[in-house]
Symmetry: C2
Subunit: 445 residues, 2 copies
Amino acid sequence: MKKAHIVIIGGSAAGVTAAITCRRHYPDKEVLLIRKEREALIPCGIPYIFGTLGSIEKNLLPDAVVKGSGAEILIDEVVDVKRDEKIVITAGGERIAYDKLIISTGSVPGIPPIPGIDMDNIFPIEKNAESLKKVMERLKGASNLVIVGGGFIGMEFADECRKSFKAKITVVEMLPHPLMLNFDEELCIAAEEIEKKMGVDIMAPERVESFIGNGKVKGVRLASGKEIEADMALIATGYVPNTKLAEKIGLEIGPTKAIKVDRYMRTNDENIFACGDCAEKFSFFDGKPSNLRLASIAAMEARIASANLFGPRRMNEGVIGVFSTILSGTVFALAGLSEKEAKAKGYEITVGKWEGVNRHPGSMPEAENLKLKLIFEKGTGVILGGELMGAKSGGEIINMIGTAISKRMTAEEIARSQMGTHPALTASPIAYPIPNAAEMACIGP
Amino acid sequence: MKKAHIVIIGGSAAGVTAAITCRRHYPDKEVLLIRKEREALIPCGIPYIFGTLGSIEKNLLPDAVVKGSGAEILIDEVVDVKRDEKIVITAGGERIAYDKLIISTGSVPGIPPIPGIDMDNIFPIEKNAESLKKVMERLKGASNLVIVGGGFIGMEFADECRKSFKAKITVVEMLPHPLMLNFDEELCIAAEEIEKKMGVDIMAPERVESFIGNGKVKGVRLASGKEIEADMALIATGYVPNTKLAEKIGLEIGPTKAIKVDRYMRTNDENIFACGDCAEKFSFFDGKPSNLRLASIAAMEARIASANLFGPRRMNEGVIGVFSTILSGTVFALAGLSEKEAKAKGYEITVGKWEGVNRHPGSMPEAENLKLKLIFEKGTGVILGGELMGAKSGGEIINMIGTAISKRMTAEEIARSQMGTHPALTASPIAYPIPNAAEMACIGP
């Protein structure tokens, strides 16, 4: 019987990071990554296949990343695990023994129970090349594309598809504006206006009641009574943890329907760890279960799980949630809690705002506007979150804010922090957004 | 007699930040900023006047920044301070009473004692418009420009002047490579090669022994015995604190020849504070005097000084030193201590390195390579520094490292930190440089 010291199930962000990290920490152990997809995709790059990148081939996660670390890859599906014997069994009939097992089976599209959703030309956005190839093929002929769901994936698909395809695009979102699960209202309205200006129709708040058609989709009936034409639809209503295998083998499942793990990423089987979208998460702020599922969190959890396989070395402090997107050239990003989320968690807050250009003087090339908001707990002054909109450099600035959150910095500390500045690369030292926004919070409203 | 509650002397990064901060913290106090220059320049933008910006007018620090805060500006020179009476006296004959005084008189070029340095067409790089206008005028006719000093200013001038002027440019640097006071050797060699490829001649290690000419410079005699033609020269050998006024009025001067201040930015006169290039600095790492002088440090110190005018509110933890530059499209940046500096301070260190693209997949537009090195103290794992080279996003990534240093994060903490990632804005979650470089340091060499 085959054997690998460490077996990893799943080959996306968590699985790949786990493979590399295991090889770094245990260069003497054999690491085997088993995934069912012949080609692995970069998950966050999927929307960009349909516009900026132009092809699925440009969005592949190269096997060399895993193989270069000395880990092996097996293309097969794990269908069972004999936990007592510490053996995985694959669809291809392999039986492979392990010492430690990491489950990183990711997430799958959540399919809402809308009548008619099974009709032809309606696609959930699956993270596999075969399904996406079909979407690409059908998009070429589509005249009216409806995207159900105005979250990150829905909005990124809308923004990318409008670049490459002639179809009229309509996004249907249940909340009053797109992206409202992520950002405070002001940014959501800005994102909505940007996409509308680019010709994307956004119907919000609105709900798809049923799909109309005869085998093939022809239209969408909305809760408001309106009907819109649609010869193609994409379902972008979110993802749910893929726990099929974990449930089958009797691992505990938590309240968010993900595999239950402790702060060391251990499941209820001491030899099985889980990380990434399939694993339960809890909030950095209050330890409560969290529905945040991000590739960056998956990679972080994989680094923790891998380091802990043979003894506890790293503790998971919970998800902060740092993410960004770009719609028609404008960046939207959040680290930690939005104002709305902070209030919902029961915090009394103080907010500091700043707006300015990200170069100095503003006449330097590539100068763009950046709007920043920092959110602090009122009593302690500890930073809870930061939200920004505008310049591309915001994609890295948000990470500085994430770092400050992770160390529970106060508005006072941030106001006197040292930020390196350069005319061609950043805002000016006088007007650098982070200390200025913190200062505005220090002095209060 | 005129009176302002708060008088600020000097109108560059420290003075302007102080004026704004004072108005924020004490909206009932009158704030008067006195500067001698009719037009204030953005100090770090000065090299860019000669290439990217193309004119001095595009690099002015608008008075609206100060006036918009409710502070006043007086164009005049403070020539004396009657400390007992708390009155400043200007060259224009004004006597102005103050409650609190902030001195932010900046720095002036240090002129090396090279024979012939007084000849015509040899210019120190002064931070005033009149002098720079003359430099601009003369550059137009120059055929052979020698820049003495290959630090930041010298290299930025070389890189910018080559874009706009026909003169052959030679940089003469005493150390083996340019930028060696700032970066580890590898980056210095890379910067040297980049500029050489762009046609800039760099002579290092080499020293200017004297200027040759007859009233007007005609050439440069080097310590090696070589002579090179030069019909124009720029002196970029660094700046020294401008303490003329402070010395005259009897303020204590420290070991770096800057105004002595405590951790609250107070001078030995309890009503006089100093900040920016004219004020003494000490290292975040060991409290020893530091010669780092940066606009971003000046702004930080101004925020501390201003908040402390009427009672101690903010303590200065010392200079970390976060800076960046860009030469011919390649960013060079450092936060904290380089490997060389850490060793010189007596640390035993561990280094973690990482290299990769700053987008994912690498086929996304604007993808650039980034090379990162993080430096940790061996025993504790506390981060001491980070050095990077490559992508423009490095200008903000270095600030995240600065934040980590300020909170004394360990390699272990950084290895499991959460970095938000996006295909169009950052490296991939698997290959994000900061946790990966930290991980390499965790597992050791």
